[in-house]
């Protein structure tokens, strides 16, 4: 490997590196502002001045910007040269001329790059006595606070926001010493990744507005490596807590996953753990009680209904909690599933099985390198950081194709985006599969409108096929996998799963258990139902059945950290620790197990779900009571990875999926006259995050979205009202016409689906309201 010398130290560099990148990778500090590994060099701040030793001794040394100078073999660089130091001193002095010097009241204080650089390189005193330039700040919404006077014009914010995350509502306005970073007008930033401005801005221009409400200095925060619980990507986070409350969440670098960033759901969804209706005391029959009494009550009821017990774990419950519940049920003669929706159970198990029986899911950095992708569904809402990874692929020229039923932000970056009604997704994918086979067999398919897509996927060096499982059936997931197989060994397959531990939970119980439990509760065969971190009552398609069925139960035992509809109905309720208050392990969409530590503890005793079940096992005198040994028994070759490491694959394999469609049979095209539903999601749409008021205040309005042509044909106009009737209820909603929704489909939000008792793709009755 080639090397350069920095102040006498030998530093290796990779081809294409500049001096600054090489130095930072080797942990050698060269002062800088505008350079960022994700954004590369700009040369805007001039702080990274270094001196280069001339080749010939009769030439003078040369000052240059380390971020703009390519590293070359044998180059001798000095950061400490007097001339370089002088440049840095002047740069800092210049930047500080207009700076408000408000460090004592600045939220960035203590973790401010400008503060550090000023102390390291700047002059100790101020010479300028004139007036400072001042700006008016903007209201950028509930999540980000704006303080423009602190800006040092490094352009990191707009380079991140526009160039990297492809947003277009934050920009650099005006010129000269009046450059202003903001929006056209006041209003919330629209990008699902806007929160990263808080970390990418080296000063206090953009700060976390929620943290600001309950602020603590960075050095006073308790932190520990954690994993984001809001989707299946498993981004690494560093939450900060103080005085027994959670204050903020920041990103923590994982070199293969989220690297420097997280999405706004991950950053601001944490408010669920500070929600005013947070469960803090165990309850038996609606009365607060002690943990011990609640355990006793649960034990009595479980003993009384031996062999008539069911348990529902969750895709948002960790590996420990799910495994403990499964083990407990094994001992007391019960059935376990991690899903309350049999279709989702089937789809998730199918997805995980296909992943295990293929090359496995690519990491986020691998996804940035693909050159073509077929995306099924709304990735931004189901796995925001996968969306960001694909935006990077798009920037490098990847051709993205999208099949979607409802609007999704990624559509604007695709080569072709096709709206497909949920019930026709299977046919569409099968057709594409046929086309690809035909093309590969040398047949001419050019008169087919999807030929371009087939060709783009075939000619790609590395095509990616990715589906969002929550809006797909098991058979849809399987056709996607078959597409990948057809495309050959270079094709990559992956799925955005339904929760942070969906992969891990899918390994624990066979498909069919969810339906078996539901039916057994309905027939009264199951008398006691234990639910850990799940909310069957709020399932869009099955919620109604669960509610009705649960009236037959003797006892509903719920373990959760949020007050869901199911938790409210519980006979025995165990409040458990939120994710930042406990340790555990999630298995992400790749099958990567990642562990996390508790960041802090609340004054109340809040065990994890796994702890509660372990205690129950003790009270019931079960033979297996210890979390670690249960994990060991269930996953014999698995070592829980240390928190803060890169994680490790979970070595379990599911049997391959057979070809015959089983429980998750495809949603078949209904006759054309009926409407079907499509889930309309947004990036804050997730169970835990729905308890985070800051984030949910940005939720889109409750409307029904219909495609223009279908609407015209049925005489529905934009802004008019329609009545939607489902199996549970009917609602009247204003209509919005939109091109990005499939024909014959009504796009509605999750809350409305739950109210109507309908799932994604279910038939729905629609009538005009006059």
């Amino acid at each position: 490997m080639s090397t350069i010398l920095i102040d006498g130290r030998t530093i290796a560099f990779k081809p294409g590196d500049n001096i600054l990148r090489a130095a930072l990778e080797a942990d050698v500090e060269i002062p800088h502002f505008c350079y960022h590994a994700a954004l590369d060099s700009l040369g805007a701040c001039r702080l990274c001045a270094v001196e280069i030793k001339p080749k010939n001794s009769n030439e003078a040394p040369r000052l240059t910007m380390a971020c703009l100078e390519p590293a070359k073999e044998g180059l001798e660089v000095s950061v400490s040269a007097a001339a370089a130091q002088q440049v840095r001193r002047h740069v800092i002095e210049l930047l500080m001329i207009n700076h408000p010097h408000d460090c004592p009241i600045c939220d960035e204080g203590g973790e401010c790059h400008l503060q550090e650089m000023t102390v390291t390189c700047g002059p100790p005193y101020r010479r300028y006595r004139g007036r400072k330039r001042t700006f008016t700040n903007q209201d950028l919404g509930p999540l980000i606070h704006h303080e423009m006077n602190r800006c040092i014009t490094c352009y990191r914010c707009t380079r991140f926001y526009q160039d990297y995350a492809l947003g277009n509502d934050l920009g650099a306005m005006r010129l000269r010493n009046e450059v202003y970073f903001g929006r056209f007008q006041d209003g919330p930033l629209e990008s699902p990744f806007a929160g990263n401005l808080v970390e990418i801005c080296p000063t206090g221009v953009f700060t976390d507005a929620l943290f600001r409400q309950r602020f603590a200095r960075a050095w006073d925060l308790n932190t520990a490596p954690s994993i984001c619980p809001h989707c299946s990507v498993g981004c690494n986070t560093l939450p900060g807590a103080r005085d027994g409350t959670l204050r903020r969440v920041r990103s923590r670098t994982h070199p293969e996953l989220n690297r420097w960033f997280i999405c706004d759901r991950g950053r601001y969804g944490h408010q669920y753990s500070e929600h005013c209706a947070r469960l803090l005391s165990p309850r038996v029959s609606g009365e607060n009680t002690s943990y011990h009494k609640a355990l006793n009550a649960a034990t009595t009821r479980i003993k009384a209904t031996q062999n008539c017990i069911g348990g529902i774990g969750s895709a948002r419950e960790d590996l420990e909690g799910n495994t403990m519940l499964q083990a407990l049920l094994n001992e007391v003669g019960g059935v376990f599933t991690a899903f309350n929706d049999p279709a989702l159970e089937a789809a998730t198990i199918a997805a995980v099985s296909w992943l295990q029986n293929s090359a496995g899911a690519p990491s986020l950095i691998e996804m940035e390198q693909i050159d073509a992708a077929l995306i099924i569904g709304d990735l931004t809402a189901h796995a925001p950081m996968i969306d960001l990874a694909l935006r990077q692929a798009y920037r490098k020229g990847a051709e993205l194709t999208l099949f979607h039923s409802s609007p999704t932000p990624l559509a604007q970056f695709t080569t072709s985006a096709i709206t497909v009604p949920p019930r026709e997704m299977y046919a569409k994918l099968s057709h594409l599969c046929t086309l690809i086979n035909a093309l590969l067999a040398g047949r001419d398919i050019s008169d087919d409108p999807m030929a371009v897509i087939a060709k783009s996927l075939i000619k790609a060096r590395q095509p990616l096929l990715i589906g969002t499982i929550e809006t797909l059936t098991a058979t849809d997931a399987s056709v996607l996998a078959k597409l990948a197989i057809t495309l050959g060994p270079n094709a990559r397959l992956t799925y955005a799963l339904s929760g942070p531990n969906a992969y891990g939970s899918a390994l624990l119980a066979p498909e069919g258990n969810a339906m078996q439990i539901l039916e057994s509760v309905e027939t009264g065969k199951i008398k006691t139902l234990i639910v850990a971190g799940n909310d069957p009552f709020s399932d869009p398609r099955f919620g109604l059945r669960w509610r009705a069925a649960c009236r037959n139960l003797n006892t509903l035992i719920v373990l959760d950290c949020i007050l869901t509809a199911t938790a409210e109905a519980a006979d025995i309720l165990f409040p458990v620790a939120a994710w930042t208050e406990r340790g555990g392990t999630f298995v992400n969409y790749e099958g990567r197990a990642q562990s996390f530590l508790p960041v802090f503890h609340r004054p109340e005793y809040l065990p994890s779900a796994a702890d509660v079940i372990a205690d129950l096992a003790k009270y019931l005198e079960c033979s297996r009571q210890d979390v670690l040994s249960v994990l060991q028994d269930t996953f014999p070759d698995f070592q829980v990875p240390a928190p803060g490491t890169l994680g490790s694959p979970i070595p379990v394999s599911l049997p391959p999926i057979s070809d015959s469609p089983s429980a998750g049979s495809p949603l078949l095209s209904s006759n054309n006259s009926t409407w079907q539903t499509a889930l309309m999601s947004w990036y804050g749409d997730e169970t835990l995050a729905s308890f985070a008021p800051g984030l949910t205040s940005l939720a889109p309005a409750t409307i029904a979205m219909i495609e223009q042509a279908t609407a015209t044909a049925t005489g529905i106009v934009d802004g008019s009202k329609i009545r939607l009737r489902g199996s549970a209820d009917s609602v009247v909603l204003p209509v919005q016409l939109n091109q990005n929704i499939a024909a014959g489909t009504v796009g509605i939000g999750r809350n409305v689906l739950v109210r109507l008792g309908l799932g994604h793709g279910d038939p729905i009755e629609l009538e005009k309201v006059l």
């Binding site: 277009n168 509502d169 934050l170 920009g171 650099a172 306005m173 005006r174 010129l175 000269r176 202003y180 929006r183 056209f184 007008q185």
Partner: protein, 158 residues
């Protein structure tokens, strides 16, 4: 047809030869400004619909170029260069004396709406430093006396 519609139509023609509508943003702004005198928020919003750029992206362009006005200027506009060459030849004094002479800060319009004086980035008239652009006409080198005479004439003018 109003100005917006004309623009929209022109841009529709353009797209065959110039598939990137974004490239038309600045000419479109100039067109609209020639018609309206300046671009208000409403104009920016309309331009966003026509060009496919976001309002923020248009605002970036509009506020970067000194010849695009986001506020109404006077009937006559004097833009005095304050970049390096002109500054070295006394542009700062010219700007100061314009403020004094008109009794108002740069950018403000004189009471009868006749005149506004604005600073400008280099006009490419460095050989005539200190230079100014007067209603689109190059002028320079200026001194205090010639500037005052000019301002007086423009104020009295129409």
């Amino acid at each position: 047809m109003n100005t917006f519609e004309v623009l929209q139509k022109n841009l529709a023609h353009l797209s065959r030869t110039h598939p990137r509508r974004r490239a038309a943003a600045v000419p479109a702004m100039q067109n609209l400004q020639a018609e309206l005198g300046y671009l208000d928020d409403m104009a920016i919003t309309k331009l966003a619909q026509i060009t496919g750029l976001s309002t923020t992206e248009l605002e970036e362009l509009a506020t970067f170029y000194s010849l695009i006005y986001r506020r109404p200027p006077g009937r006559h506009v004097v833009q005095i260069c304050d970049s390096v060459c002109c500054n070295m030849r006394g542009a700062d004094q010219l700007l100061e004396s314009a403020e004094k002479y008109l009794h108002r800060p740069l950018g403000a319009i004189t009471p009868n709406g006749a005149l506004s004086v604005l600073p400008s980035i280099c006009l490419g008239l460095c050989d005539k430093a200190p230079a100014a652009l007067v209603d689109g006409e190059a002028l320079g080198p200026l001194n205090n006396a010639s500037l005052e005479a000019l301002l007086q004439r423009l104020q009295k003018g129409d």
